[in-house]
């Protein structure tokens, strides 16, 4: 069997399993999730053994230390996987929820029922814990999943997959509800993203190269985010204390996350008051500053920001700073150079807060809050499969609802159309 035939077989299996998990009781799905957690807990030796093979291979293949770190399944990470499964079991089941059911003039009653999307393909890189996160969210939302992890994690992912299948079996759910691709052939990805008859949505989780490739070639919908070029704009009517706190938190809380601020916009009237304190505190935290000319007039020792800086997601302790003369100029900069991910204004002005919320075209728009809050857990979704910077289907952090669709339900008493 070649790769194409193999993927089609997985697709057929997934399609058949999807029909069964779509109508599975909440109780059975939760039972499966808890049984997966138990299976992972009791399979620690097997998980460590499989992971050790991947780590050995990784070292022999010259993976860098960051990759090896992401690949490692420590006991703490296994604990997190177990906790995540138990957490997803406690989330409300989105499937079958009926909203907005109302009577209409014809006498029929019309509402919307939340239903699974069907089969979700997940493509990800080294971290084996994604296998559990993605499988659990897809199962809870009534979808079947085909998971394609990185070749460097193949043994770890297969070991995790055995625990997942064990959990499905305990609950009497079809084991094909979650399938982990067993080949490391790269053609498997190409096949998976071009078989709309078997896969309804693709969620790529990984580097920009992977996401660009998947988006370009996919023949099915893709829930993705490419860049996180996030901004904080400090308005001339900002509270100075809030401005400094938020601007520091948005940059320094974590450097490698997509909701970290990459460019700070400061109103020119408030800049003289704030920039020297901010600069000291950023430099104390080890953040390299790069400023526009007017910023450098106030902070002569920092580096110069070029046009390229406004378009760069550093994912590193680097921050570009630009002075603007109005909120409108800030919004124009954000809408032009940002990645429509997350942007925040710091202001005490009511009218400007409303205008900023409305006019900034990003998946999360904030007032007086750190961009670091853009996250499924912080938003109360319980968990997230990813963050979407697209506008179609789901935007921002994607939780269980983002893995479902709504169909119309119509209730009548023999009603006919006149």
């Amino acid at each position: 069997m070649n790769v194409q035939e193999y993927m089609i077989e997985l697709g057929e299996n997934a399609r058949a399993a999807a029909r069964l998990v779509a109508k599975a009781d909440t109780r059975l799905k939760n039972q499966a999730l808890l049984a997966m957690a138990d299976a992972i807990d009791s399979s620690r030796p097997e998980l460590h053994a499989a992971n050790a093979i991947d780590l050995d291979n990784g070292r022999n293949n010259g993976l860098d230390s960051a990759m090896l770190d992401r690949l490692e399944l420590t006991d703490a990470r296994i604990d997190t996987m177990i906790e995540g499964l138990r957490q997803v079991a406690t989330l409300p089941d989105p499937v079958g929820a009926i909203n907005d059911l109302k009577y209409l003039p014809s006498g029929i009653q019309v509402g919307k029922m939340r239903v699974p999307l069907g089969v979700i393909g997940i493509i990800y890189e080294s971290r084996p814990n994604v296998t559990v996160e993605a499988a659990s969210l897809c199962l809870k939302s009534g979808n079947a999943t085909i998971l394609r992890g990185g070749s460097e994690a193949i043994n770890s992912n297969q070991a995790v997959a055995r625990c997942i299948k064990q959990g499905l079996k305990v609950a009497g759910l079809p084991e094909n509800a979650v399938q982990v691709v067993e080949t490391t052939d790269r053609e498997a990805v190409g096949q998976m993203i071009t078989m709309p008859e078997y896969v309804d949505v693709i969620v790529p989780r990984g580097g920009k190269g992977l996401i660009e490739r998947v988006s370009r070639d996919a023949k099915v919908a893709v829930i993705k985010h490419l860049d996180g070029i996030c901004h904080v704009y400090i308005d001339d009517q900002a509270d100075a204390g809030k401005a400094v706190n938020v601007a520091l938190n948005a940059k320094t809380h974590r450097y490698g996350t997509c909701n970290t601020m990459e460019t700070l916009l400061v109103h020119s009237d408030i800049a003289p008051e704030l920039l020297s304190e901010l600069s000291e505190r950023y430099q104390a935290a080890g953040v390299e500053l790069r400023g526009c000319e007017r910023t450098r007039a106030l902070l002569p020792l920092i580096n110069k920001a070029t046009e390229a800086d406004w378009e760069t997601e550093y994912l590193a302790p680097i921050l570009s700073i630009k002075l603007v003369d109005s909120m409108d100029e800030a919004i124009a900069h954000i809408n032009r150079y940002g990645s429509h991910h997350t942007d925040s204004i710091i202001t005490e002005n009511y009218t400007k807060s409303r205008a900023f919320l409305r006019e900034v075209d990003s998946s999360s728009v904030m007032v007086n809050a750190s961009t670091r809050f853009a996250d499924g857990f912080e938003y109360g979704l319980g968990a997230e499969i990813g963050i979407s910077t697209d506008k179609i289907h789901a935007r921002g952090p994607v939780g269980l609802n983002g893995l479902t669709s709504e169909k119309y339900v119509v209730l009548g008493d023999g009603h006919i159309r006149q």
Copy 2:
């Protein structure tokens, strides 16, 4: 300027206009819609003159009478266009609506704000009234539109476009918020569906060939429905009166619409009681019946249904009938042969009504109601841009909300992430 350059120019114009209409007041959008209605009303001579050219050309080019009929702009159709515009002006503005705003444990307040998608491309065939319908719904939902009508309606569409631009001008909105493609070159469509930097969503309205081509080649999201293979299933616990009324209405109310029933499924226990009456009434209405073998045992004079009948959208006074021995068999038939559009069960049984609603995988699922109700107006959406049989983004009749997306808004008081 070649076609590609021309379409890119329209795209750039649309993108610039989209930013302005996205933040336009409800009042201005409504003013534009009402002014468009007035402009159409006072431009009847120009509309008739332009339409006469298209009709002449159509006759000379051998268009069939159905096409010529769809192309004709009668005064009654102009009245309907005017009424439609005034109706859209009365609909609530979806843009900026904030839902589910709630406090979270961190202290931030998180909600979702409805925002326009951006630029919507509409590709349609002969009916010039689509120009007005599509433009008005896209404008009200804060989107810019590029409209590509059929070449046979080019003069009518341009005349309508002048009225639309007049209305935009009266309200001080950018005239490029609605652009009608002026070339009849087919390459314009190819270009429009492959420029994601300028167009966010494509809505094809027309025959299956058009929709298949657009879906296959598009590089942006497509809101579409392909087929309407709709079913009514008469359960053994159906009320006979309701069953006959709904089954007749679903087939005979209109033959050419996508929500018309094409296959009737009847439980074998109730078939002897109902089929002869139904058969008489269908035949009185001029409907040709095609039955499975067991149906023909009860109605020996009707034609035989082949496998192909179960997969056919007749759009004509033809109905296929199949006997089944259980609701599960009916659901399996619907999910296999249907087009996931609209399907209805007739039953008095509570448990079966719930199971049917949950298990049938269609954009509208009904109990004791005619499939003909699947329609944006009947569902209280006010209007519809089309019906989606996809699961991604919008499913079923697509109204103003389907032309928007939701972004997250976060309100804080200087909150930072711990």
